[in-house]
């Protein structure tokens, strides 16, 4: 099928034009396999996960360079994805929480790489509000909400594409899987199915002989947490009128959450395996680059938590792998890069680098290409910045993680948070080298005040390098800010703790 240089009009809809120039010589095809809610922790066999089997993701890992200090730029679906496709942080593009449209002038990666000579295709989950995926890519399958419904179709459409693509221009294909995001459904399902045993909801599976106790993982490490957390975190995860009724959760129900999470990981791993098989047996095997990542992780029961939007490692750290099944491309195989701090903000710059041009059109991000090739990069970032839920920002140097909670002072203006416009609330400081479970908040320890000050300074520097911020006027984001600010004020959460 030849790609048209002009937009195609059919059925009353305008579809995007495709490659707009001649691609540079020897650029690879690119497949971006992205999953939803896959943590870097406790999830991938090749990285040591004990309670799941991921042969397909392991195959990507063995064929590529894994960035083990990889963070989501904002560990919620829409904000993380908006960052991938625009090279901007959520406070800049406006997608500060789910379903909040981005500012209309937010950059788009797809036209940039079309300008570099690529035909661009998409299948599966998009979830960037304010941007119509069908006006940016040719869409093979528009994903639904859930993996059980969508993921097979993502694979099938991507396989059909690999079998039938017949153009001399390179392609970029994004395959957006939903799972293990289906883990979002099982907490309520399991709660409703469970029996009351001494006031606690207890799953029936072992009692009814469906599973053995040995089939179900133990409680996770770091199941507890230090209660000195930013107030937006408490409002979202601890204080919303006991939803999802954690006070009634038995240990067995927490363990069942882990069991289900691992099954959904395996479910999407099976799909990825089929896609890799197709690529392996296609003519595209040797000249195709694979990029694998996830928008954010999951609580997996750590820190007494489920779901997303925290900045603890199980949620904030995500896989990021650059791989190739063949031997033609310059990608180091079976390598774990534990040194370089990388982020979803780097995705666009990395893609542009492989495509040969366009990276300068994205405001932020560094290309991971030289790192994947094993080349020395002298000036790599020393600290990484991320955001969450409007009011939490994070910086880490790989040893210390600093999280700053912000508070509204007066009326909620809709302006994304930062030290210049908001009060600093509860802070967190973790020594992740010696406290990998992030159990001890050192921000209120006298002997850590010097480190805290340094991290605060880095945070201010990162914040001031953001593009000019604009108010969030869209109803969902603004409503989130007002509702949660009101809740925090009503409950009179502490804004700080004594330093001892």
């Amino acid at each position: 099928m030849g790609a048209s240089a002009a937009a195609v009009l059919a059925g009353g809809l305008v579809y995007p034009s495709n490659a707009k120039a001649q691609a540079a010589k020897n650029v690879p095809n690119i497949i971006f396999i992205h999953v939803d809610q896959l943590s870097l922790l406790d999830s991938i066999s090749a990285y040591g996960a004990k309670y799941t089997a991921t042969p397909a993701i392991d195959r990507i890992v063995k064929n590529g360079t894994s960035f083990m200090q990889s963070y989501s730029a904002d560990p919620v679906c829409c904000p993380a994805r908006a960052t991938w496709w625009s090279g901007t942080y959520s406070s800049e593009n406006g997608v500060v929480v789910n379903n909040t449209p981005c500012h209309s002038d937010t950059p788009d990666l797809s036209p940039i790489i079309q300008d570099a000579g690529y035909n661009t295709y998409f299948t599966g989950k998009w979830h960037v509000p304010g941007k119509n995926v069908k006006s940016l890519f040719h869409v093979l399958h528009e994903g639904s909400w859930w993996g059980e419904i969508t993921d097979s179709e993502v694979t099938r459409s991507a396989r059909a594409f690999l079998r039938n693509y017949n153009d001399d221009k390179p392609f970029f294909l994004a395959a957006g899987y939903l799972n293990p995001h289906d883990i979002c459904i099982t907490p309520s399902t399991e709660f409703d199915r469970a029996q009351d045993v001494q006031g606690k909801k207890t799953p029936r599976y072992v009692a009814e002989g469906i599973l053995t106790d040995g089939d179900i993982p133990p409680l996770p490490e770091a199941h507890g947490y230090d209660k000195r957390e930013p107030n937006i975190h408490i409002a979202m995860h601890r204080g919303l009128i006991d939803k999802p009724k954690f006070s009634q959760w038995s240990d067995e129900l927490w363990r069942m959450h882990r069991y289900n999470y691992h099954r959904f990981v395996e479910m999407v791993d099976n799909e990825i395996g089929l896609l890799l098989d197709e690529l392996e047996h296609s003519k595209w095997r040797d000249n195709t680059l694979l990029i694998f990542s996830s928008d954010h992780g999951d609580g997996i029961g750590r820190h007494f938590s489920l779901g997303k939007s925290t900045l603890y490692d199980e949620v904030a750290k995500v896989p990021f792998v650059i791989a190739t099944l063949g031997d033609k491309l310059e990608v180091r195989k079976d390598v774990r890069d534990c040194e370089h701090l990388v982020s979803g903000i780097d995705f666009g710059a990395t893609v542009c680098d492989y495509c040969g041009s366009g990276g300068e059109k994205l405001p932020h991000g560094r290309s991971l290409r030289p790192l994947a090739a094993g080349r020395e990069v002298a000036d790599w970032r020393t600290h990484l910045y991320a955001e969450s839920s409007v009011y939490m920002h994070m910086v880490t140097d790989g040893r210390y993680k600093y999280v700053c909670g912000y508070e509204e002072d007066g009326e909620v203006s809709g302006l994304p948070a930062g030290a210049e416009t908001h009060s600093i609330g509860v802070e967190q400081l973790f020594d992740v080298l010696n406290d990998a479970g992030e159990q001890n908040n050192l921000a209120y320890r006298q002997d850590y005040q010097e480190i805290l000050e340094k991290m605060r300074a880095v945070m201010r520097e990162k914040e001031t390098k953001r593009l000019k911020l604009r108010e969030i006027t869209a109803s969902v984001g603004l409503e989130f800010m007002k509702t949660h600010t009101e809740l925090i004020r009503k409950r009179e959460y502490p804004k700080s703790y004594p330093v001892v």
């Binding site: 869409v139 399958h141 179709e153 309520s188 399902t189 199915r193 395996e266 047996h281």
Partner: protein
């Protein structure tokens, strides 16, 4: 009168308040009225319904697919013929995937795939709207079991090894389970390799009898025999068969198959192109 439902299919409001209310429990109940012999030739059909956390009430979101499964016995083998239609797209507006498959199974417990006979799964997406994707609307999966290996045919027509299997354990497709689980004994757990849609294989699965349950659908008491499947890549799946051995309900993580002689999607999809 409220329905009496088992915890494995009574936990979801969409099932309780819409699907059963409009189907099994309705005045014009969709519970089967004809006789059934699981060992003979038959065809059953189902609505594929959404049972997730979003409490949809509109039909197009709830009834998002349909399945027809037919079995024909010829001596020691049984042929399964499958026709499945699923809504696609975020809003389930237009595009639909039509899946057709035929496979030959050993006519024994769980209807495992027969060795040395090719199977085919044809998957075609209809009502495509973006003309630039028309060439990528169809994929055919052909495979066979041969010498302890599942082989598949690649896009160029060459066979390749997809998975090595333990020859002691049967290779069972999801459609075979729907057709056969009701026939396993009350105290037996059967181990097998699970082959989802004849695309994706996972070793280490088990299926076993769970319990007999007296359900009540709008005042109609129905004795159901329940079975449960566990293994890698699935949360526990539940299968409920009537006393004649016909599957009435299968419940997965966020979907369910509910018996219906006239799956709702079929009429709507008749004109798909």
């Amino acid at each position: 009168m409220s329905d009496t439902l088992h915890w494995s299919f009574g936990d979801n409001p969409i099932l309780k308040e819409k699907v059963f209310a409009e189907g099994f429990s309705a005045p014009e109940s969709t519970l089967p009225s004809s006789g059934f012999s699981p060992d003979g030739d038959w065809e059953n059909s189902y609505d594929l319904v959404y049972t997730g956390p979003q409490l949809f009430t509109e039909d197009k979101y709830v009834y998002y697919g349909g399945l027809r499964i037919g079995k024909r016995v010829a001596g020691d083998v049984a042929a399964l013929k499958i026709r499945e239609i699923n809504h696609m797209e975020q809003d389930f507006r237009s595009e639909r995937q039509h899946i057709e498959s035929e496979c030959v199974c050993c006519n024994e417990a769980l209807l495992p795939l027969a060795e040395g006979v090719d199977w085919n799964v044809s998957i075609l997406t209809k009502n495509r709207r973006d003309p630039m994707t028309a060439a990528y609307s169809e994929i055919n999966e052909t495979g066979r079991l041969k010498g302890g290996v599942i082989e598949k045919m690649d896009g160029g027509g060459k066979w390749y090894n997809y998975k090595k299997i333990d020859r002691q354990l049967p290779v069972v497709g999801n459609w075979s389970l729907l057709a056969s689980v009701g026939g396993i004994g009350g105290d037996k757990a059967i181990e097998f390799g699970y082959f989802h849609k004849l695309e994706s294989y996972s070793a280490g699965h088990k299926v076993r009898f769970l319990e007999t349950f007296k359900a009540d659908f709008g005042g109609r008491e129905v004795v159901l025999n329940g079975y449960v499947q566990t293994g890698p890549s699935i949360t526990p799946y539940f299968y409920w068969f009537d006393e004649q051995g016909r599957l009435l309900i299968a419940r997965f993580a966020l979907s369910a198959l509910i018996f219906n002689e006239n799956p709702r999607i079929e009429k709507e999809a008749a004109g798909d192109k």
